[in-house]
C-alpha cells in the first residue's frame, strides 16, 4: 500500500506537470460538450421542396400554399418541368419534388380520383422517410378538406376514423438536447479515460523508464493500480464538470439518483481504463496504442446506440453491442438521468460492466510482464 502511495504521487505529478495535456483533458471535452449538442439535431424541418405545377389550378395553388404554410417545408423552387426540379436535387438545393399533373383539379372532380407525384432524395434515409411522411399527411389533410367541400357533411361522417394519440414520455417536447447530451458526455468521458490510459504504460516503454520499474520488487497489480487510479480520478472530474455543464447550459437535471449514477460511472471507468491499460501492455509504441484505441473507440461509439438505435441493428451487430461497454454507459445515462431509473433497474448493466472490469484489468495485470 505504501508503494501505491508513491506511485500515485508520481503519476499525478507527471500528469499535472504537462500543462498542455491537462488543459486538453479538461478543455476539449467541455468545448465539445457545449458545441456538439447544438449540432446534433435530427429534427427534420426546413425541408427544401421543389414544386412542378403543370395544372396551375386553384386546387393546385391551394395545395402548394398549404404545404408551405405547414412550417416543415421551404419552397426551394417553382419549376416548369421535372427535369428542372431534378437539377435542384442534384445540387442539393432541394430534398423533395412535388409534381402536380395537368388537369389535376378537373380529373379529381370528374373521375373521383387523381394521382400526385412525389420524388424524394433518399440518400439520407431519415430525412427522406420523414419528409415523405409529412408531405403525405399534408396531402391527406388537403384531401379531407376538399372532400368536406364537395360532399355533404352527413354522408362524410359515415367514414370511421381511428385517431392516434401519440405521447412521448420522459422527453415530451422531443428536445434533442435532452437526448444527445448524456450520450455525448458518456463518449467524452470514455475517450478521456481510454486514450490517456492506453498511452500511459506504452509511453514508459518508449522512453525506457519501464526497465527501471521492472527491476524493482514492485507488485504487478500495485503498478497497474497506480496507473489506473489517477485517470479514474481525472475522468470522474471531467464527468462531474460535464454534469454541471449539462445542468446550467442545457437545464438537464438528473431525474434519478446521483448516487446510482456515480456508482455506475465508478465501475464503468474501471472497465474503460482497464481496456486502455490492456492495449498499452500489448503495444511497443504510442503510435500503435493510439491506433488500436482509435479503432475500438470508433466501433464503441458507432455501435453504442447514440447515433443510431441498437434496435435497428441486425442480430449479429446486436451481439457485438453486448460486448461494448459504451453501450451500457449510454443506456444507464439515459435511464438514470432522463427516466429516473433506480439501482434495481440498472443492476444488470452494473453486473455486466463489473464483470468486464474484472476481466480487462486482470488480463492487463497478467499481460504486463516484468520478465520476458
Amino acid at each position: 500500500m505504501r508503494t501505491l502511495r508513491f506511485l500515485l504521487r508520481k503519476e499525478f505529478r507527471q500528469i499535472f506537470r504537462d500543462k498542455a495535456i491537462v488543459s486538453l483533458i479538461f478543455f476539449m471535452p467541455m468545448v465539445q460538450l457545449i458545441l456538439m449538442p447544438l449540432a446534433a439535431d435530427y429534427e427534420v424541418r426546413n425541408i427544401n421542396l421543389a414544386v412542378v405545377d403543370h395544372d396551375k389550378s386553384s386546387y393546385s395553388q391551394k395545395l402548394i400554399s398549404k404545404v408551405v404554410a405547414s412550417g416543415y417545408f421551404r419552397l426551394a423552387g417553382y419549376n416548369q418541368s421535372f427535369k428542372e426540379a431534378f437539377g435542384l436535387i442534384e445540387s442539393d438545393e432541394a430534398d423533395l419534388i412535388l409534381e402536380i399533373p395537368q388537369d389535376f383539379e378537373r380529373n379529381l372532380i370528374r373521375e373521383d380520383k387523381q394521382k400526385l407525384f412525389v420524388a424524394v432524395n433518399a440518400i439520407n434515409g431519415t430525412k427522406a422517410n420523414l419528409g415523405g411522411a409529412y408531405l403525405g399527411s399534408i396531402i391527406a389533410d388537403f384531401n379531407a378538406g376538399i372532400r368536406m367541400q364537395l360532399v355533404r357533411p352527413p354522408k362524410f361522417s359515415t367514414f370511421p376514423v381511428i385517431e392516434v394519440v401519440a405521447s412521448n414520455w420522459f422527453n415530451p417536447v422531443l428536445n434533442y438536447k435532452v437526448f444527445i447530451v448524456p450520450g455525448i458526455l458518456a463518449i467524452l468521458v470514455t475517450m478521456v479515460g481510454g486514450f490517456l490510459s492506453a498511452l500511459n504504460i506504452v509511453r514508459e516503454k518508449e522512453i525506457g523508464t519501464i526497465e527501471q520499474i521492472n527491476v524493482t520488487p514492485i507488485k504487478k497489480h500495485i503498478f497497474i493500480l497506480g496507473k489506473l487510479i489517477p485517470f479514474w480520478v481525472l475522468a470522474n472530474i471531467v464527468f462531474t464538470i460535464g454534469l454541471i455543464l449539462a445542468r446550467f447550459v442545457y437545464g438537464i437535471v438528473p431525474v434519478g439518483s446521483l448516487l446510482v449514477l456515480y456508482l455506475f460511472i465508478a465501475i464503468y471507468l474501471l472497465t474503460v481504463l482497464g481496456f486502455g491499460l490492456l492495449v498499452s501492455t500489448f503495444c511497443d509504441t504510442q503510435q500503435q496504442a493510439m491506433f488500436i484505441m482509435f479503432f475500438f473507440m470508433m466501433l464503441f461509439i458507432l455501435l453504442g446506440g447514440l447515433f443510431t438505435s441498437i434496435d435497428s441493428m441486425p442480430d449479429w451487430a446486436k451481439v457485438i453491442t453486448r460486448f461494448n461497454p459504451v453501450r451500457y454507459m449510454i443506456e444507464v445515462m439515459r435511464m438514470v438521468i432522463l427516466k429516473g431509473s433506480g439501482l434495481m433497474d440498472v443492476l444488470p448493466h452494473l453486473g455486466i460492466v463489473s464483470l468486464m472490469a474484472v476481466v480487462l484489468n486482470g488480463w492487463a495485470i497478467l499481460n504486463y510482464k516484468k520478465t520476458n
Partner: protein, 248 residues
C-alpha cells in the same frame, strides 16, 4: 557448494532468440564487494546476460543464482536485492531530482525518514543541493548519470548492475563516477559493470571478456595483461575482439 561470499553464481547460462544464441553457456561467479567488469564488443551478448541476471529476461537454459535467489523462480526476491542502471537513461525526465529520489525510495520500501536522510546525503555527495527542485530533463548528462547511479544504490542493494553507465560522458565526470562506484564497493555493495572504456576496465577487481556470446577470459587486469604478454587492456581486448565473427 555456494560459498558465503559468492553473490552471483552462473553455470552454463544460455539465452537463445530463435536460432541466434545471444549468450552461450557462460559460467562464472562474483564475490561480495567485488567490482566485476563485464567487457565485450557490441553485440557480444553483454546486455542480454545482464538482463537475465536482473530478472528482466528469462534464461533459455543453465543455472544462476543472484544473492542466493534463483533467476528462474525467484525473480521478485532478486529484485529486492539489486540495483540497476540501464544503458538508456531511465529516471523520469519530467519529475524533479527530489521527486525521482522520493519515488524510487518509496518503491523499494524505504521509510519516510530513511528517504529524507538518504536524499540529503545523496544531494550533498553529488553537490546537487541547488538543483534539487529542477526537472531532471534540465540537468547535464554527466549529472544525470551520477544521479541515476545514486538512485540505483539508494536502497543499499547487495549488487548493483550498471550497463555502460558512462557512455557519452566527459573524462572528469567519468572519474567522479568511478569514485562513486568505489564508495559503494567499500560499503560492501557488489558492482557488476559493463563498459567500452579500457581505462575503466583497469579499475575493476576482475574482468571478463565476452566474444560471440561466449566468455573467453576471466581474471584480474594484471594477470590478463601478463597472460597475453601485452602492456595495456586495450591490446588484450583488441586481440580477443579481432577473432569475433559477430559485429554490430
Amino acid at each position: 557448494m555456494m560459498q558465503d561470499d559468492q553473490v552471483i553464481v552462473c553455470e552454463k547460462l544460455t539465452k537463445r532468440f530463435g536460432d541466434f544464441v545471444a549468450t552461450d553457456e557462460i559460467t562464472f561467479e562474483v564475490h561480495k564487494g567485488e567490482i566485476f567488469g563485464f567487457l565485450g564488443a557490441n553485440g557480444a551478448g553483454k546486455t542480454t546476460a545482464m538482463r537475465m541476471l536482473c530478472g528482466l529476461s528469462a534464461p533459455t537454459s543453465g543455472k544462476a543464482t543472484i544473492a542466493g535467489f534463483d533467476v528462474y523462480t525467484q525473480t521478485e526476491q532478486i529484485k529486492k536485492n539489486i540495483g540497476y542502471m540501464s544503458q538508456k537513461f531511465s529516471l523520469y525526465e519530467n519529475l524533479t531530482v527530489l521527486e525521482n529520489i522520493e519515488f524510487f525510495g518509496g518503491i523499494y520500501g524505504l521509510s519516510d525518514q530513511q528517504i529524507k536522510d538518504k536524499t540529503n546525503e545523496l544531494l550533498d555527495r553529488l553537490g546537487l543541493k541547488s538543483e534539487a527542485k529542477k526537472l531532471v530533463a534540465s540537468l547535464p548528462l554527466g549529472w544525470k548519470q551520477k544521479l541515476s547511479f545514486s538512485v540505483a544504490v539508494l536502497h543499499e542493494p547487495k549488487i548493483v548492475f550498471l550497463d555502460e553507465p558512462t557512455g557519452g560522458v566527459d573524462p572528469v565526470t567519468r572519474r567522479q563516477f568511478w569514485d562513486l562506484i568505489y564508495e559503494a564497493a567499500n560499503r560492501g555493495i557488489t558492482v557488476f559493470v559493463t563498459t567500452h572504456y579500457m581505462d575503466e576496465a583497469e579499475y575493476c577487481n576482475r574482468i571478463s571478456i565476452m566474444v560471440d556470446g561466449k566468455m573467453e577470459v576471466l581474471d584480474t587486469p594484471a594477470n590478463l595483461k601478463s597472460q597475453f604478454g601485452v602492456r595495456s587492456m586495450d591490446e588484450v581486448f583488441y586481440q580477443l575482439a579481432r577473432s569475433a565473427k559477430r559485429g554490430d
